[in-house]
């Protein structure tokens, strides 16, 4: 047995112990998936890199609307342009263009820079997210809320970030956060109140194993 395998088994065992100890349930969800941002911070790049590392293919769009999501895999052949980015790595041999998504992953994090680049305001971003999540709910597409920006990107009550959290987390089917993002128990409270499974990880790296468990 190689050192890598031993390390991998040890890491998996450690993760299992942590999850069991924390009473965390990792739900199972299907493919194909779409990643996007709630607030246009660069955290969605982290999420995409996590999926790359986990060898899970995905579509990505920074500002999808409900209509775009309805177009399914490949997002209707749309191409990136100024203030709009789309990328499809989904294996279209398995999931041909137009296949409905089974889950949408939202990387929560407000960035004035990112919203400015996409021509959005906080209000219009909130409105877009509401319509998008409503569509997901109506079409049985799982919603995953991810917050990996940490404590200092949370901000006080009413801050840009908090508004993004309120727009997505209470409506999610699963919440994954870094411990640093949940220092005040904000996500724990939301998860408890709405009975949403919640997983805490130490670093973004911890998400790699989580997404493997959820989507494989």
């Amino acid at each position: 047995m190689t050192k890598k395998i031993i390390f991998g088994l040890a890491a998996a065992a450690a993760l299992a112990v942590i999850l069991i100890a924390a009473g965390q349930t990792v739900p199972k969800m299907g493919l194909p998936i779409l990643t996007t941002s709630a607030g246009q911070s660069t955290d969605v790049t982290t999420l995409n890199i996590v999926l790359d590392e986990a060898a899970i293919m995905y579509d990505y769009c920074d500002v999808p609307t409900a209509e775009m999501v309805a177009d399914g895999v490949g997002l209707g052949g749309r191409e990136s342009g100024p203030g709009f980015h789309v990328e499809s790595t989904t294996d279209q041999a398995k999931f041909p263009a137009g296949t409905p998504y089974k889950a949408v992953l939202f990387a929560i994090g407000a960035s004035m820079k990112g919203m400015g680049a996409s021509g959005l305001t906080l209000d219009s971003e909130e409105s877009r997210l509401k319509k998008l999540i409503d569509y997901c709910k109506a079409n049985k597409i799982s919603v995953v809320a991810v917050h990996i920006g940490g404590e200092s990107k949370r901000g006080p009550a009413g801050s840009d970030n908090e508004r993004m959290i309120d727009a997505v987390a209470p409506l999610a089917d699963y919440i994954v956060v870094t411990k640093d993002s949940n220092k005040d128990g904000r996500f724990t409270k939301i998860a408890g109140a709405k009975k949403i499974p919640l997983t805490e990880v130490e670093y973004a790296l911890g998400l790699v194993d989580i997404v493997k468990q959820v989507f494989q």
Binding site: S41, T42, D43, T45, T46, I49, V50, D52, E53, P82, G83, G109, M112, K113, M115, G116, A117, G119, L120, T121, I148, G149, G150, E151, S152, K153, T178, D180, S181, E202, Y203, A204, L205, V208
Partner: protein, 576 residues
């Protein structure tokens, strides 16, 4: 259509665009959120001058802190001794984040953004002056900053990265007794504690009285953890030859590196291996490793981007026209540094921070772009991107000067607001205070207590009749800036004499001099704004002494009247 009609139509179309505030087809989409367009990565210009390339032997750096909505406040941090076992708190400091003045000052409020670690403190930390970044410490170590960006998968906005760039520069100031030391401090701390969070690819000019380096640093991706045992940053530094000058206009400048030559290069241990690991460099390609091509590539040239990235070529062409560098040359093929045709004075460098690319293909006054009063801000302030694009929070010019005691040799000149209407004010490294008016204010609350607003106040009144009012500003600059530059040797001599007798007296002298001059200049700029308002009120020319006014001045030029007629022709209904 006749040629004259075609001419008129073309001219009128351009005019119509100008009048309606539209840009010609440009490189970027116009953002929908006013003000937020200023946060793109085209923010700052750093000019670097080696000691053998300056007229007085000083090593110089600049930082045009171009933003438009960022913090502009400065403060002095005194030197300190620390007991064994002391720690230094680390904060996440965003370059862009500001707070309403009613909540307090940025440099107090950042303490709310504790990054979660305390690092071992060193026995002694140097005193320094800082704004958005550290600029000058009491050992004459100086810094200028420019964001260069990095490959997307290198970004690490996660909390595993404990150090942002601002925090790194503060640590570099506190712990670096030389430029090399400051680079090693910043590089090694970033490797150990992780770099990124609010920032990604960044360049710093790091200078001392003997040399100046270009230091570039990038994160290593969001999956980095301190437990990985790998460096949490990748960086390289290259020394600018003493008789050369260089520039960083938001583009990585370090290409091939020769780590065997320790006098010219430094780097983190992963500088090549990370690029291989991430797929940015193939060691079997037969090509040498290049830092900029691997981690922060910029495609295109001044010409191919229609001036979007023309600052690099422009600077080199300004300082070394004999080289006849071509604006068509891809920026990544332009040299790292260049020997200027003539040595540069601090005044030359200040003038370059005010450069608007006049006379080049990207002259903002070309055609009718500047309007009747030739205002370079009138048409499109973002394309082409010139060095002085009018949105600087402030600009610094640092001088590190050998042959003088450090408190006297180190100078940071600070100018608030757009460089063309601002005035550089000197602050010696030995000054133990900065003005209170430099520590307060923000973009959204006008305040006569904030020095920065004095300069915006003048700048605002210049915009109306730029071609005329800028002459008044230049006269004030000649009085308060040029004369101050000429006085510096005299101040140096007095300070050196005092330091020899009693260092504390020297420090008090330099502090008093720096504060007094700043107060004089700030007062003068408040008055200048008042004077411009009166002089050009209602677009007439008021003569305060004679108590009369001239309604035909400032004169609207004939070419502008023709342009208006051409526009009228275009808008007339077709006559059949």
């Amino acid at each position: 259509m006749k040629r004259t009609h075609l001419w008129a139509t073309g001219l009128a179309l351009v005019l119509a665009f100008a009048l309606t505030g539209h840009s010609l087809p440009a490189q970027e989409q116009a953002p929908a959120v006013p003000g937020q367009e200023d946060l793109h990565g085209d923010g700052c210009t750093v000019i670097i001058v080696g000691k053998g390339a300056s007229t007085d032997g000083s090593v110089m750096t600049t930082h045009t802190c171009d933003c438009g909505i960022c913090d502009w406040t400065f403060r002095h941090v005194p030197p300190a001794d620390h007991k064994p076992g002391s720690t230094r708190k680390i904060y996440h400091i965003s370059q862009y984040k500001t707070w309403p003045p009613s909540e307090g000052l940025k440099w107090d409020l950042i303490k709310k953004d504790f990054a979660g670690i305390d690092i071992p403190e060193v026995p002694h930390t140097y005193g320094y002056h800082h704004g958005s970044f550290g600029y000058m410490n009491d050992k004459q170590v100086a810094i200028g900053e420019s964001t260069i960006g990095c490959q997307r998968k290198m970004q690490n906005p996660t909390p595993s990265a404990k150090l942002d760039l601002t925090m790194l520069t503060l640590l570099g100031m506190e712990r670096g007794g030389t430029a090399r030391e400051a680079i090693q401090v910043m590089g090694s701390l970033a490797e150990k504690y992780g770099y990124g969070f609010h920032d990604d690819g960044e360049m710093l000019a790091v200078a001392d009285p003997n040399e100046v380096w270009i230091f570039e640093i990038c994160p290593v991706g969001p999956l980095w953890t301190p437990e990985s045992g790998k460096p949490g940053a990748v960086w390289a530094a290259q020394r600018v030859p003493d008789d050369h000058v260089s520039v960083c206009p938001n583009e990585s400048r370090i290409g091939e590196i020769d780590l065997a030559n320790k006098d010219l290069f430094m780097a983190s241990p992963n500088v090549v291996s990370l690029a291989v690991e991430m797929g940015f460099y193939d060691p079997n390609s037969g090509k040498p490793f290049s830092f900029k091509r691997a981690y922060s590539p910029v495609e295109g040239s001044a010409v191919s981007t229609d001036g979007g990235i023309q600052r690099l070529w422009r600077f080199f062409d300004l300082v070394a026209p004999s080289q006849k560098l071509k604006p068509e040359t891809p920026n990544m093929d332009l040299p790292f540094s260049i020997k200027p045709d003539k040595k540069l004075s601090v005044q030359d460098v200040m003038a370059m921070t005010r450069d608007r690319s006049y006379g080049t293909p990207w002259d903002p006054l070309k055609g009718i772009r500047g309007g009747p009063f030739k205002n370079p801000n009138y048409f499109n302030r973002r394309a082409p991107r010139v060095i002085d694009d009018g949105r600087a929070e402030y600009t610094t010019v640092t001088q590190s000067r050998a042959g003088l005691p450090d408190p006297v040799g180190g100078l940071v000149w600070i100018a608030f607001g757009s460089q063309d209407t601002a005035c550089y004010m000197p602050f010696y490294a030995g000054a133990t205070e900065l003005p209170k008016s430099f520590a307060v204010g923000d973009h959204w609350t006008f305040s006569r207590d904030s020095a920065r607003w004095a300069f915006d106040y003048t700048d605002f009144h210049v915009q109306v009749v730029y071609s005329e009012a800028i002459k008044d500003v230049q006269a004030a600059q000649a009085k308060y800036e040029a004369e101050m530059i000429a006085r510096i040797p005299e101040i140096d001599a007095q300070a050196v004499a005092l330091y020899k007798k009693k260092p504390a007296e020297g420090a008090r002298f330099l502090t008093g001099f720096s504060l007094n001059n700043a107060q004089t200049v700030v007062n003068a700029w408040w008055k200048l704004g008042d004077d411009l308002l009166v002089k050009y009120n209602r677009l007439y020319l008021y003569d305060v002494e004679k108590r009369n006014y001239n309604r035909s001045q400032p004169a609207v030029p004939d070419w502008w009247k023709k342009a208006v007629r051409a526009f009228d022709i275009l808008m007339e209904p077709d006559k059949k």
